[in-house]
């Protein structure tokens, strides 16, 4: 794609130059692009540079050849006074035609403003550096599936042997409870090893980070808190450093506060604690993958080198300690820059948006160029006179370009203002799932981008008219006395512009159609449960205050009391919340099956979920066979489980799963299946449902390794779910005032966040496509209407000779429809290419979707008929007498 764009840019140069250097320049460009990609340069910026160079150089070439062919050379010192004169002349000219100026400025403002607004989002989210020094050296280090994370001994191996790193740190995400104050608060804690803060290299706002000896004590006695926790609990008081904070029942000394922009690993992390050295140094379990890692590359090293080194170390570990590894699941290091990881899923949407507004700008430019061409027609006499009086081509071109530059400069300023409003609206309307939203602002980069776009626009809208006008034959124009039809070259240029506009609009419409169809497909497919009317809240018990029996009692009482509330139809609790949390995968062994039944020779995996009775009714997951859990599923009774449909199909294809048994890890107790429920998409709309196994909460200590102390409460109600919030808090407080309630939200909100990104960008793309359609319609109208005006004489003659009104109508309509059909054909070809480009964003719809393309054709046909009908009516109303008289 890049190659033919460059080839097209080469067409801008005079033929002689192109023939001499074209091949060399294409080779140059290929190497340039390859190198830019390898270095990971930001491609839109590279392209802007390449285009500006091509336009600027081509323009210089074209004017140069003219001047050296015998005309007068303008002495360079005259240029500046000329410029001032040209600007004054242009502004006066524009002021004399306010209607024309207004339409042009409105179009340019929309085009440039949309680009600046979307770029401000791209800039904030993707380009602005992270608040770590040299973020291009900071990366996350994990493993590919199925291990994902790292175990203690592996961390030790990597840390000892990686030469390409400045530092490697391990950390764990945990939750905890702060028990001081009125309400206990649930917080996100990161326990990190000694290299953590040096790797990120961000100094604390006040106080300090951890001293080496503080990694020696277990449990940790010191904490560093986030800026938001500091504001929340200490109102930004600097004496907070040195105070103690009761976290998970022990007092910890606050030694530092991080600055507000520090958000690692997550924005919602509230505090950081030292990960005791003893935890990492004990010869631990090789297969307990629970550590996250973050690292900083040594200066001069590359991510590729680190990746190779890590792969080598992983292979050596597998060779030296074969007893700890399963050969069918090799350990594969996975290294990603923190920045990529943070914004990776948002990037394709933003690029799609940037592409879309680029198209809008091109269409706007085509429209404006068209207007300028039409105006240029009216000025042919003026230009011819000036040429006859000795003005050089360069001089005239410069003046015409000054005019378009003035227009685009004003458009750029207005566009920037529009972008300022637009980016505020975007931030207000954007879903919180877009990372780094708070970074979006009109900063110098955005201003520079807008300036570049304006210059580009000015050249684009000015070049075609300037080129056409300076080519007009002088003598002929003067003889004509400025009357008569436009030159055929000009009207050809105007038609070409309209065809290009229509083609661009078609590409945009079909692209947005594909995105819309994907969104609808996802929403129709559903998640497998019924999210509306459900309130969710996380309730966490203190491990040391609650043993297994007391926990069971607490949650059963809680669910019972909540379910008894008026207007509540069902209530239950689960270990994790679908869509919001991740349940992980556990291996299990189905009774009566052997290894060889499974493709990779291993036991199958399923997502584990611990639930109380009532959970299925509360979340709205249908019970397909068997029964729900009840109070009989207690410790000591028969161990039971309920499984999802996919679990049953995966374990015993085609057989009735009820009454069959399975066990975890190959050596746990056998569990009997008492029910089958539907599948749910626990990872959101885009994901396939995973096989899931449900354990009755009361039995989890025996049947499923451990009993979780932190559970999510789900309450289904007929009315507005959020109204129950104070009641639920009250019930929890009455059971135990030390227990925190957090993450209170409706299930609708949780689910909405999962498609929010897609919904947001699809809405924007659709809006821009509609704008493009309107602009293309206006463009078509402009050309046809102009054509009718130009042909009034001809139409008059035809009517005088007896042409029917229908014939005139057909004549005009045919002209318009031919233009649109040509645009449509080119646009459809472009749509196929665009569909492939955005393939990654499409779900349940092919990149070449006939429904979408058909709808687009239909829509376009309607718009083009509308655009032609007004000029056609005017043509039919032409009175032959007046037309021939020439008024």
């Amino acid at each position: 794609m890049s190659d033919w764009v460059f080839a097209a840019l080469l067409r801008l140069y005079p033929r002689e130059f192109r023939q001499r250097y074209g091949t060399a320049m294409r080779a140059f460009h290929r190497e340039r692009m390859r190198a830019a990609r390898q270095r990971g340069e930001f491609m839109p910026v590279v392209w802007v540079r390449v285009m500006l160079d091509a336009i600027g150089s081509a323009f210089a070439e074209r004017t140069r050849t003219r001047d050296s062919s015998g005309r007068l050379n303008i002495p360079p010192e005259k240029t500046v006074p000329h410029l001032r004169q040209d600007i004054a002349y242009s502004v006066r000219g524009l002021a004399r035609r306010p209607g024309f100026t207004l339409v042009v400025l409105a179009t340019l403002t929309l085009g440039i403003g949309a680009n600046a607004a979307i770029f401000s989002v791209v800039n904030g989210v993707l380009i602005r550096p992270l608040p770590y020094p040299e973020p291009e050296r900071v990366f996350q280090f994990g493993h590919k599936a199925p291990q994902w994370l790292t175990s203690d001994p592996q961390f030790g191996e990597y840390r000892r042997n990686m030469r390409s790193l400045d530092g490697l740190a391990a950390y764990v995400n945990r939750e905890g409870t702060i028990t001081s104050g009125d309400e206990p608060e649930r917080v996100r804690i990161v326990s990190a090893s000694a290299d953590f803060f040096p790797v990120l290299d961000v100094p604390p706002l006040i106080g300090r980070t951890f001293a080496p000896d503080e990694y020696a004590s277990s449990p940790a006695t010191v904490v560093v808190i986030s800026h938001s926790l500091w504001m929340r609990r200490f109102a930004g008081d600097s004496t907070a450093v040195g105070k103690t904070l009761p976290v998970n029942g022990s007092e910890r000394v606050i030694v530092g506060v991080m600055p507000p922009e520090f958000a690692f690993p997550e924005r919602r992390t509230d505090l950081w604690m030292p990960l005791p050295r003893s935890v990492l140094d004990t010869p631990g379990d090789w297969s307990n993958y629970y550590l996250f890692m973050v690292a900083r590359l040594a200066r001069g090293s590359t991510l590729d080198r680190a990746r190779n080194e890590a792969t080598g170390i992983a292979q050596r570990m597998m060779r030296d300690f074969p007893q700890h590894f399963n050969p069918t699941r090799p350990l594969t290091p996975d290294l990603n820059l923190v920045n990529d990881r943070l914004v990776g899923s948002t990037r394709p949407y933003l690029y799609a948006l940037l592409g879309t507004v680029g198209f809008v700008l091109l269409i706007a430019c085509a429209n404006v160029a068209n207007l300028l061409l039409a105006r240029g027609e009216a000025r042919r006499t003026e230009m011819a006179v000036r040429t006859a009086l000795g003005a050089t081509t360069r001089r005239l071109t410069a003046q015409l370009l000054t005019e378009s530059a003035v227009l685009s400069a004003i458009g750029g300023v207005l566009g920037l203002a529009l972008a300022w409003l637009g980016s505020r609206a975007l931030v207000a309307g954007a879903p919180a799932s877009i990372p780094r939203l708070e970074e979006i602002a009109i900063d110098p980069t955005v201003v520079a981008f807008t300036a570049a776009v304006s210059v580009f626009t000015g050249l684009l809208i000015g070049l075609v008219p300037a080129w056409r006008i300076t080519r007009a034959p002088v003598a002929g124009t003067l003889k004509e006395g400025g009357r008569g039809a436009g030159t055929s070259g000009t009207s050809r240029a105007r038609r070409a512009l309209v065809v290009a506009e229509v083609a661009l609009a078609v590409v945009m419409l079909s692209g947005s159609g594909l995105l819309l169809r994907s969104l609808l497909h996802l929403q129709r497919a559903g998640l497998g449960f019924e999210p509306s009317g459900v309130l969710t809240a996380r309730v966490a018990l203190l491990q040391r205050a609650y043993d297994d029996n007391r926990s069971t009692e607490f949650f059963f009482q809680l669910v019972e009391r909540v379910a008894a509330l008026p207007d509540v139809s069902a209530a239950g609790a689960s270990g994790w919340l679908p869509v919001a949390d991740d349940g992980g995968l556990w291996g299990y062994e189905p009774e009566g099956r052997n290894y060889s039944n499974y493709p990779d020779g291993n036991w199958p995996d399923a997502a584990p979920q611990q639930v109380t009775p009532g959970y299925f009714a509360a979340i709205g997951l249908p019970l397909l066979a068997g029964r729900d859990f009840g109070s009989a599923d207690r410790p000591g009774a028969q161990l039971t489980a309920i499984v999802s449909k996919r679990f049953a199909e995966q374990s015993w294809p085609g057989a009735d799963p009820l009454g069959r048994r399975f066990r975890l890890g190959g050596d746990g107790p056998w569990l009997t299946i008492v029910g089958v429920v539907g599948d749910l998409r626990a990872r959101g709309f885009g994901a396939e449902p995973a096989p899931t196994m449900y354990f009755p909460y009361a039995q989890t200590a025996t049947s499923a390794y451990f009993m979780p102390r932190s559970m999510v409460l789900l309450i289904r109600t007929g009315g507005d779910p959020s109204r129950l919030t104070p009641v639920v808090r009250g019930i929890v407080r009455s059971l135990d005032p030390r227990v925190p309630v957090s993450e209170v939200r409706t299930l609708d909100v949780v689910v909405g966040a999962s498609v929010a990104n897609r919904k947001f960008s699809t809405t924007l793309v659709l809006g821009f496509a509609a704008l493009a359609l309107v602009l293309a319609g206006i463009g078509t109208y402009g050309v046809i209407a102009y054509g009718v005006t130009q042909r009034t004489f001809e139409i008059g003659v035809r009517q005088a000779l007896g042409a029917e009104r229908g014939t005139v109508l057909r004549l005009v309509l045919r002209e318009g429809l031919v233009l649109c059909a040509s645009g449509l054909v080119i646009g459809l070809a472009g749509s196929v290419a665009a569909g492939r480009l955005i393939r990654a964003l499409l779900v349940g719809v092919s990149p070449v979707d006939w429904v979408t393309l058909g709808t687009v054709c239909l829509l376009l046909a309607v718009v083009s008929v509308l655009a032609c009908i007004i000029p056609a009516r005017r043509a039919m109303a032409v009175s032959p007498v007046e037309a021939l008289r020439g008024t």
């Binding site: 130059f17 080779a27 140059f28 150089s57």
Partner: protein
Amino acid sequence: MSRAKPDRDPNDLLPLKPIELLILTMLSGADRHGYGLRQDIVEHTEGRVALEAGNLYRHIRNLENASLVAVVDARKGGHSDDERRIYYRLEPFGRRVLAAELLRLRALIRVAEANRVLAPAGT
């Protein structure tokens, strides 16, 4: 400026534009193709001068027209069309112009050294 005359005075072409000076200097070491020149210049100027295709080849064209550089006879061999690089070399006359320009600059540096703008180059 059109065809090369055999006994032109290099001083007629001075001073050189900064980019012309850079290109000629880079070519004085070895024959280079377009992208190679860009890389040399990027490296030498630590990224401050990064030429794009149009700008670079316009300068090459000027230098070629003035017979300071010339195309090396196309490199023979199994190059696919994809890699058809065109190499340029510094012509003898180009070398004389470059030397004249550098002498001019050296004289200028002497003045600056005498005026204590620069410390004299170390021995």
